[in-house]
Symmetry: C2
Subunit: 561 residues, 2 copies
């Protein structure tokens, strides 16, 4: 009767009610139904509690996730392992959640070419948003026949001259990359939708956002509805380009994330801070989440493509609380957006008459793949070290300094038994020194919040990006493979040169976009790590200066002894 699942990753419980998992560990599930992305079960050590559904492989699941060479991150797997009811971090059954989304509207599904992966367990109504680009396949299907005549998914192999990928779970297929490369994508690209890749000093770059902005996230406030039956946290967002505050919940961010992940196949959409089952209204968690959202927003706003896209602007500017109608309108528009997946590639505009050298591109991409692997390893290592270092400062370091403080105070108390005047000053000075060491212990315990926590926040964000890139690389690699295939077909006389040139042109477009995205990654990486390292060191310096000051105060007490 007991359902079993296997842990895909290590998971360390951080809150009461959660249990830790070890990779490969087999768990007994209390139920196959997740609760807002969390499952309840018993681990091999007999602990019962919650863990993220995405960290385990469901019983009997045998398909592979995506096509990336690197391990997919837990976030990528949301809905891939166990379907999480996405965006459901708060409560679901309120007025917004009740309204069905486009994916559930029968008319929008059209002649769904691919069976809904959710099949058995989607029931919740909004399941499946996190699955990369499933919907883009669907919408592509719904437009099938008009501008993509070769697109006969059910019998693709027999009718296409360039073989179609049979793996329907391949990111290359799901993202729409294959359809685009094969010339099957079509759509009307408005001028405003055009995304330009330009040639910069280091190669392809996204054209800069001519209207750069930033956005603050403040005042996390607990709100209730249904006469207090439902509670959630609302954040105040103020974008610099409008200066008009809007209020958003985590689930709105989550919804936005799903839109963006679906729309942009070769752009690394920053991951949202992690979901959490318990303690959602605790101050520490809210503060941590807010910081995570600020990081997220910062990366969104600094991405030339993401920053300018309609759905993000809608999210940033629509006053949902006062104009419910406008909000819903924008929301539906985004959900009905046709320029997603394969069609997204149509919006790409590359430098005129610029063709990239295929081998050079391949070598660059391979180099970047190595880079991401190594950076992922070292980020993991640094994160582990930072975590341990923080823990040691909060526990061991604090304890050691306070034990010294206590011993000094003990000595001073002993000395106070000698009531002679010439001894009193020393006694007080030693007592003061004891207090200073106590205070230094506290400083050590408080310090990680100032310096190590932000480092770990940054690492988490970058671990998200690094987890995105295998899919991005996979799309580009798939396109390259198609080019090679088509050339062979031409040599074998099985394909017209013109058609092969088309494939190569479209692959070129994907390569431009991929390299632009990689360049953007390096740019923000250098920017973020520079400023974070500076911040870290500045905070450490301030910390040690504070310690020194405490000691100087204590030393000063001996002057008059």
């Amino acid at each position: 009767m007991a359902l079993r699942a296997r842990a895909l990753y290590d998971f360390r419980s951080e809150n009461p009610g959660e249990i830790s998992l070890r990779e490969h560990e087999v768990l007994s599930l209390c139920s196959e139904q997740d609760i807002e992305g969390w499952l309840e079960g018993v681990n091999s050590r007999g602990d019962r509690g919650l863990f993220p559904a995405s960290y385990v492989q469901p019983p009997g699941a045998g398909f592979s996730y995506g096509g990336g060479a690197l391990q997919p991150s837990p976030q990528q797997l949301y809905g891939g392992g166990y379907q999480a009811s996405q965006g459901s971090d708060d409560d679901w059954d309120d007025e917004w959640d009740d309204s069905s989304t486009v994916a559930d509207e029968p008319g929008a599904l059209g002649s769904g070419a691919y069976p809904d992966l959710d099949g058995s367990s989607s029931g919740g109504g909004v399941a499946g948003r996190y699955r990369l680009s499933t919907r883009s396949d669907l919408s592509l299907g719904s437009r099938g026949g008009s501008a993509a005549p070769q697109h006969h998914p059910s019998g693709a192999k027999s009718s296409a001259t360039v073989s179609r990928n049979l793996n329907r779970f391949s990111t290359f297929v799901k993202s729409g990359g294959e359809a685009f490369v094969l010339g099957e994508a079509s759509g009307f690209v408005k001028d405003g939708d055009k995304l330009c890749v330009v040639l910069g000093p280091y190669g392809p770059e996204w054209q800069e956002n001519p209207y750069p902005f930033q956005c603050t996230i403040d005042d996390p406030t607990k709100q209730t509805k249904f006469k207090g039956m439902k509670s959630y946290i609302s954040y105040k967002l103020v974008p610099t380009h409008t200066q008009v505050p809007v209020h958003r919940r985590y689930k709105h961010f989550d919804w936005l994330y799903a839109r963006l992940a679906e729309k942009f196949p070769v752009i690394s959409v920053p991951h949202l801070p992690e979901k959490q089952a318990t303690g959602r209204f605790e101050e520490d968690f809210i503060s941590k989440r807010r910081k995570g959202l600020i990081w997220w927003m910062n990366h969104m706003a600094s991405h030339p493509v993401l920053a300018q896209c309609d759905v993000f602007q809608h999210f940033l500017t629509c006053p949902s609380s006062t104009d419910e109608k406008a909000w819903k309108q924008g929301k539906r528009k985004a959900e009905k957006d046709e320029m997603v997946g394969a069609n997204f590639f149509l919006t790409l505009s590359t430098p005129p008459a610029a063709a990239l050298d295929l081998q050079e591109v391949e070598s660059k991409i391979d180099g970047f793949k190595c880079f991401t692997k190594k950076m992922d390893d070292s980020a993991l290592q640094l994160n582990h070290t930072a975590n341990e270092f923080a823990r040691k400062q909060v526990t061991g370091f604090k304890k050691e300094y306070q034990k010294v403080g206590q011993s000094f105070r003990g000595l001073s108390q002993a000395f106070e038994l000698d009531q002679q005047a010439f001894s009193a000053g020393l006694n007080q000075a030693i007592a003061f020194t004891g207090d200073a060491y106590d205070a230094i212990g506290e400083l050590f315990a408080d310090q990680p919040r100032q310096d190590l926590d932000p480092v770990m926040d940054l690492l988490a964000l970058y671990q998200g990006h690094l987890a995105n890139f295998p899919d991005i690389i996979h799309v580009q690699k798939g396109a390259l493979t198609k080019v090679k295939e088509s050339r062979r077909h031409v040599e074998e006389g099985k394909m017209e040169l013109q058609k092969a040139d088309g494939i190569q042109d479209r692959c070129n477009t994907i390569s431009f976009a991929t390299l632009a995205e990689i360049h953007h990654f390096h740019q923000i990486r250098v920017r973020d790590f520079k400023s974070q390292m500076q911040h870290f060191l500045q905070q450490q310096i301030i910390f040690f200066q504070k310690v020194t000051q405490k000691l100087e105060e204590a030393l000063h007490k001996y002057d008059s002894v």
Copy 2:
């Protein structure tokens, strides 16, 4: 066949070849013969090795040590538990050690009133020096009959009107305090031998040394003799009042210590740094011992009575290496000194017509007893904390900072895979930061030598003083008891008032000396702890400033990124 012994104290092995003991633990001895104060045995955990003979009770030993209310220190017990062959830290069979000492000369022993405690195991020729005042009893005995007519140790009780202490191991008896109080001591006190107690603002004080001096201890040098068969370390001493360097070995210090401990019953002679069985020629040990000797010398020189006494001046000024004869002459003179023990009290000169209130003295002494107990506890606690704190910095703290350094370097190495120019500066800066954290780890590991070690050295010295005071207090308490007894005897008509007044006068002298010694202790305590706390804090400040500087250097590297 196996000899067994019980551990009197915890002993922590600090060098290869030593084993740890736990209080009350029963040990198997490999031999009853100690090797320079160390025994070899097997502890209850089966470890075989060396431990200080003074830390164990010999099989069948049942007598108590001294009469102090506090636990006697290991040093006090030297020769009480297992007889250490004193002063034998280096080698013994050289020209000096071959020459017998006064105690071994049959003529000097006279009619030894008390059997030699060493009895069975003294054989070595110079055993027994550490035993507090045994020799003073002997020399008193040797002078018996002339000025101490009531002194018939064997039949004391029957002939004395004030009852004699039957416990021949009582410090009061051994120190000569009892004999003095009962008016049995006599001797010709030269003007130069007079020791003055004066009344200062805080009560009785030792008269200040009119010729204060200090003495440096430098250049520990390994010397050999007998064509390299014997090795020892020689230290260069330069007293400020002569500016003439003399060279001394640890065993010379040890000999001096024995002379002083014997001579001055109510003065706390600072203990020498501990003996050590193994690693005597290792640099660390030599440096540690030198520091211990410096502390010792500092306390010797700042004590008005000890600093001026002949044997110490002989030690400081006689050029033993060039004038062997003068050295031996002074050495023999010291060993024949008659003004030791009971006779020492004769040399005390108190303020004229100043009688102390007995109750006030008793209350002061009791207060000080409490003080020493509490200070001993807190010094032990602080020592433990300092030791642990040092250990943590050398191991844990260093490791944590270096792990951070390593992780930063790992990140920098990953980043170096990106060869673009705009990334290079950051990579170097992060690598530099990694190195800075490595260096900070080293700073942490090096730090205890700068600040905690001196604190522990000071504590060790004071633990020695604190271990001396129970005996000192015991002598004073013994004298007080005699006064009370004599008063009762007068009331009962068993004693003449004049005789009782004599007892009270002599007790007054002992009280003056004891209070002067207590005052001196408080004075040097305040001086030493003030300067040590200042030194500690200054070193800590320098340390944290160094850390800050490292971090500032690292931060600076990001300026040009």
